[in-house]
Amino acid sequence: MLSVEDVSVNLPTPRGNLRAVDRVDLNVGAGRTLGIVGESGCGKTMLSRAILQLLPKKAMLSGRVMFDGQDLARLAPERLRKLRGRSLAVVFQDPMTSLNPVLTIGTQLIETLQEHLELDGQAAKMRSVELLAAVGIPAPEQRLKQYPHQLSGGMRQRVAIAIALSCEPKLLIADEPTTALDVTIQAQILDLLAREQRRRHMAMIIITHDLGVVAGRTDEVAVMYAGRVVERAPTPELFKKMHMPYTEALLAAIPKIDAKPHTPLPAISGRPPDPTRPLRGCSFMPRCRYAWAQCQIEKPRLEPAESPDHQYACFRPINITAAVPA
């Protein structure tokens, strides 16, 4: 339903051109969930903004974002505006800032409903109560009169999800939906998203830096590094047999519950490369423990592994059973 084809985002900065997203191809079908994983600054959020056409004014986008057969990048502003909210919706990272602090929850929900679905006041109010109940908010009628600061972080994120779901979108983008929340709430919010997705048969993109979030809740995972997709696979396959050293390093960096106390975390040393000065070779090369000569001169391309669904970009893939082609 959504397919991102060869999308690049360039941001002019005082220090030179910053390539935030570098030739990314992705697609999500209806009822499917795609996870996009990567560390801070790897272009995850820019990619989501590119899909929604909410990039900063100076940013330059190339490639195509096809949604239901229309290229969003070339859609007239008015048609795009109608599409947003109705068909595309987002849940942001920080529910503290994604709700308007001076309007009540009810006002924010009801106005969205009235705007897009053209419901009258009473119908919109009824629908708001249903939506709040659906996202697991107790006493929804009283909540309508409350302001965002009167709710806890988890509640606020539920409200943000209710607003995003209010117009039955076909695609929901969740941009780090649980990063700002307590660990105990994280699972609840993710389960809520998964439940609503199944019920509404919508496509969903979960953006996160936590491989633990995508495991078990997504159909497919794309790992991003320095603006590029470096590995893409159906979720079970990725966790069983990852080929890209970066994916391995990301997984190793998750704290293990059964590790002895004071075990140092195998953090990924160093920092991602300066995006204004791209490397000639593989972007992960300086931090990669498998790197060899070829990694320095050439950028690896995304190539299929055993199955066509599983793609990776690496010259020294790990966990390869077949002989490495010379």
């Binding site: 994604s98 001076v102 897009h116 006493a139 600061h149």
Partner: protein, 290 residues
């Protein structure tokens, strides 16, 4: 054995916690004074007061008496009546001029802070020009050309107040426009007009209103200064600044003629400042980590 009672009794009714904020006696005293001044000047014609312009040459600078509660001025006019009628001018100019400022300046500031770009440069630039222009020369030029009247005075002070309101509105908008709820509104397909009116304006109006009250206080003082200089309302009409100016001539004989209007102005300005400050402090606290 003690048992732990879990409160699972269906829907727990959540009542919003109403915090009674302590505002202090000073705030209420200020409110009382403001209400008294506003009421007195609004109903000045209904009050059993002598005319503020009728002169009584036999009763010049008379001390307080049953007939003239606060005595009479240098031309034998009732001081209390002039004070109350003078409050009218001060309040009309003091409130209407900032209304002009908050409307035009606020609108320009929100638009400039939201749209940025060339429009912002133009607005900020023209406001800088207005700020750099000496206000007194501007007031002189306008009154010389269009004449002295309450309307002209209000317009002059209103226009002079626009840059300050524009800056407050723009600064507030700049910090708000980058917040996620504005992007969230865009992602929900909101139009520019909707974002400006429903998302940004309710947020910006709070600091703007607090600044408005301070603007009222400043404008009352400036109006007094202009009247004192003879640029305010033309003579027979009473105004606080004009009364201070007239009282200056008899400062040695009857100092109360200058001090009474000055004191009234002082209390009024202080009240507006106090209320404005308290409201600003109430609306300021980050609004729940906003």
């Amino acid at each position: 054995m003690a048992t732990l009672e879990l409160g699972i009794e269906g829907d727990v009714v959540v009542s919003p916690v109403r915090r009674t904020r302590r505002l202090g006696p000073l705030f209420w005293a200020a409110i009382v004074w403001m209400v008294a001044v506003v009421a007195a000047s609004a109903f000045a014609d209904l009050l059993p007061l002598p005319s503020p312009t009728d002169m009584d040459m036999l009763e010049r600078r008379a001390p307080a008496s049953a007939l003239h509660w606060l005595g009479t001025d240098g031309l034998g006019r009732d001081e209390l009546a002039r004070l109350i009628h003078g409050a009218r001018v001060s309040l009309i100019v003091g409130v209407c001029a900032p209304v002009i400022g908050i409307t035009i300046g606020g609108a320009l500031g929100i638009l400039a802070g939201y749209f940025r770009g060339r429009f912002e440069t133009l607005v900020v630039g023209s406001m800088d020009v207005l700020l750099a222009f000496p206000p007194l020369v501007f007031a002189l030029a306008v009154t010389a050309y269009l004449g002295q009247s309450i309307l002209n005075l209000t317009c002059i002070l209103g226009v002079l107040g626009i840059p300050a309101f524009m800056r407050v509105a723009r600064a507030a908008t700049l910090s708000l426009a980058r917040r996620e709820f504005v992007i969230a509104a865009q992602a929900l397909g909101a139009t520019h007009a909707r974002i400006l009116l429903r998302e940004l304006l309710p947020n910006v109006i709070l600091p703007l209103f607090a600044f408005f009250l301070l603007g009222v206080a400043v404008t009352i003082v400036v109006e007094g200064a202009l009247s004192f200089l003879g640029l305010g309302v033309p003579p027979p009409t009473a105004s606080w600044g004009g009364m201070i100016g007239e009282g200056r001539e008899s400062l040695e004989i009857a100092p109360r003629l200058a001090f009474l209007p000055a004191f009234a102005m002082f209390l009024t300005v202080l009240s507006f400042n106090l209320v404005g400050d308290t409201l600003r402090a109430l609306t300021d606290p980050r609004q729940g980590a906003l």
